[in-house]
Amino acid sequence: MSLITTDGLTMRQGGKTVLSNVDFSISKGEIVTILGPNGSGKSTLLRLLIGALRPSAGKVVRQKGLKIGYVPQKLHIDPTLPLAVSRFLQLPGRVAPAAAKAALQRVGATGFEDQQLASLSGGQFQRVLLARALLSQPDILVLDEATQGLDQPGSAAFYSLIEELRQELGCAVLMVSHELHVVMAASDRVLCLNGHVCCQGAPEHVASAPEYRALFGTGTHGALALYRHEHDHDHDHDGHHHHDGCDHDHAHTHDHSHQEGSV
């Protein structure tokens, strides 16, 4: 059962085609990472999926009543807006103080209720954003470069928290990132994007795909292998993985007859 499915998604902005013909879908409990260089349309795809943008062509189908927990890349708080963490967690809907407290505790931001949002550090802010996303009891967590501005141990800790949350809540996770090795190790499936879907599949598969190497080089493959070795637990628990889509060239002329039907 797919939470979100897209069909031939195309987005043109300012006379430029940002995304063309993207077929994508994500299932319950799955962790999918979108990888791609700057300007590859990662954030645009995410915004289309959550309904913040309307596609120029194609369509996005969200499961009826789908609850999305969105963690934006960053949140600019205008200094004229006084906003404490406890009030922020109540946007847009009311939540019980006990629930807010529990959510903050879960993400390691215990006792932050009375802090002003503007006074938080980058890492604290990300945790509070995540706590807010959890409060809606989401079917899917959507994270847009959530670890930007965190150091390496900080972002590793953040991703392992995401993994734990997925286990606890059973929610799907969709992330955008370019921290290759950490992300790839924590994902069930990786989608390599560069204006179109270059390739997708299990992390090991994508990392060895020529399209991926063309975009990111081969250097990261070793880091990935190392990381996988250290964290040698099994991600293949529900057979989501499929290995396909890496046999086309980069001339943007490929058709999508080989659609990902397995999810």
Binding site: R47, I50, I68, Y70, L75, P82, L83, P92, G93
Partner: protein, 268 residues
């Protein structure tokens, strides 16, 4: 005879009505950096006056239509990627210029332009009071109803969209509220100073508030104090009332900001 017979009482009630609606809306204007947007909408009101006089319609109706039209044009063009700052500068001043020229074409009508530009709070009638309070309560109701959604969109439109809130719809709500405030405030402070009643009380309340709601409330209190103080001062010193009200608001802003800076300096 009733207490509404006193023109000072009517003036005070009219001013309080405007302060009540303008301050909470003004908070959004400040948070969203829409001060220019507010000005442009207010300036369009002079076109509305010309419209009303031409068709012998109530001023309120003409101003409301012109302000809504301006709000709509700005939102649409802004979404198409025009540079907002420049766009607002062009539209805002064009609206005033065309409005003034249009009014001058209305031969045979004796028009007191100053009253529309700077307000004529001392000439508020009972009917005006009804319109002002009706409009003010509508604006408050609208903001009350959409408060959380508006706040979420103000914080981040994508965050709102992910929660099922349509940022465009909320923008429309703000545009409507703004047009209503302009239409009721024109009699009190006039086209040129409506922006001041939106921005100054809200900005003055900022250092005093720890939550968005208290900032809105603080803005109302500061706005109301400015109205009462301004009326009193203009009576004593025989100064134009609308501008005097704005002067009091501005003085309160300076006082609060200085006090806050002092408090921070002492603490560190």
């Amino acid at each position: 005879m009733s207490f509404l017979d006193g023109f000072m009482i009517r003036a005070a009630l009219a001013g309080l009505g405007v302060a009540l609606a303008a301050a909470p809306l003004g908070c959004f204007v400040v948070w969203r950096r829409m001060a220019f947007f507010g000005d442009a909408t207010a300036h369009a009101a002079i076109l509305g006056v010309a419209l009303s006089l031409t068709f012998e319609a109530p001023i309120f109706a003409g101003v409301l239509i012109a302000a809504l039209g301006m709000g709509y044009i700005v939102s649409t063009l802004g979404a198409r990627g025009h540079a907002m700052d420049t766009l607002l500068g062009v539209l805002s001043h064009s609206a005033i210029a065309f409005g003034l020229v249009a009014v001058s074409f209305l031969s045979g009508v004796r028009v007191d332009l100053m009253a529309y530009l700077f307000g004529d709070i001392l000439a508020v009638s009972r009917m005006d009071l009804l319109v002002i309070w009706g409009g003010a309560i509508s604006v408050l109701g609208l903001l009350w109803w959409r408060w959380s959604a508006l706040l979420t969109v103000t914080l981040n439109p994508d965050l709102a969209a992910a929660s099922g809130i349509d940022p465009k719809r909320e923008q429309l709500v703000l545009t409507l509220a703004l047009a209503l405030v302009v239409a009721v405030a024109i009699k009190v402070v006039g086209v040129l100073l409506i922006g001041a009643m939106l921005v100054i009380p809200a900005a003055a309340a900022r250092p005093l508030a720890q939550t968005p709601e208290r900032m809105a409330l603080g803005g109302v209190v500061i706005g109301a104090a400015s109205v009462i103080g301004g009326l009193q001062l203009s009576f004593w010193f025989d100064t134009p009332t609308g501008p005097t009200i704005v002067c009091v608001a501005a003085s309160l802003f300076v006082a609060v900001t200085l006090a806050d800076a002092l408090r921070q300096a002492v603490r560190h």
